[in-house]
Symmetry: C2
Subunit: 213 residues, 2 copies
Amino acid sequence: MSKEITKVSNSVIGRLPMYYRFLIYLKNNGINKISSSSLAEKMHLNASQIRQDLNCFGGFGQQGYGYNIDYLIDVISSILDLTNLKNIIIVGAGKLGVTLVHDIDFQNLGFKLFGVYDNNKDILGTSINNNIIQDISNIENLKTTIDVAVLCVPKEYAKQTTVFLTKCGIKTFWNFTHQDLQIYFNDIIVENVHLSDSLMKLSYKHKHKHTSK
Amino acid sequence: MSKEITKVSNSVIGRLPMYYRFLIYLKNNGINKISSSSLAEKMHLNASQIRQDLNCFGGFGQQGYGYNIDYLIDVISSILDLTNLKNIIIVGAGKLGVTLVHDIDFQNLGFKLFGVYDNNKDILGTSINNNIIQDISNIENLKTTIDVAVLCVPKEYAKQTTVFLTKCGIKTFWNFTHQDLQIYFNDIIVENVHLSDSLMKLSYKHKHKHTSK
């Protein structure tokens, strides 16, 4: 399958998590099969877009029969690597870090929350949802490979924290700092989260009364 | 300008906040003009994509001269309605609500944070960053028009909270509940935030070593 996957465009990849969420929702509601047109209606998308997207992975829908939901979930889950457990750490145990520990279902997304780190002596040793906040300097001496770091430090510390973490061998970052790390680092893998982008889109929709999704 | 704007596709609108952020960053670094190729390099995008996007709004770049940053900021800001102050409330003052009060620069995004609401008697009257947490039932009696509600309630309360808020006249929602509201409501404006989608995308990038943005 991997040969096919490398041809898939970024915009299709960008939509896969949304398909995945909806398919899990349908499965949890006892639905086993769905047509692209029903899926389109539920997701407020275009049916031909959905067929086009899902056909990138080998056309596993059958005309007049619909998609097998379990199968689709398995395939998308494999493409997104959700079943292969990777170690993730949270760096920065401020309000945002604490919220993520509570709100993100890491396990079901293919991640094991290995630890929460900070450099604030006042909070080291306290715990968030059974995760003891540890000193960031401990990361240097870990015997376990850490796959991903969630950056929840203030923007002004983003660069130096990333320098440190890359020296510890971490190359993949879920970046909440609003600092564009790719200006400074060429060989890292980053997914940036900018909640303000989402609010700006809402502002546009509000002005133009866009009731569609 | 509004005639032109209504023709703009959702995907272009989706990229405008990103342009806006970068242009503000450049302006704050004393840069007044930029070519589409330099902007493309900084943003890890394709120059022809940028030219195409920005030309939707009337081609205000000049060949061999570059875009005037102040002008672009003004135009995008007007399209996204960032200068027209709208009233926003946060509903749900748990960890996520508190994080948003601290981390989102509402004022600079065209919003006035009018109030923070919850129904938990234990926290009513306490304050977050100078915003006193008020009883959610007070929203019914507000004399001020509320433009947008940020939904930070648990998923299982999302529907009933939205029913209540729509009765109070609110039609636009920044939805963090992971509940698909558009199943139940036809005439509301919603921007959904799914942080897990972003983590799934990172999982894909990590597996395939995508170092591009």
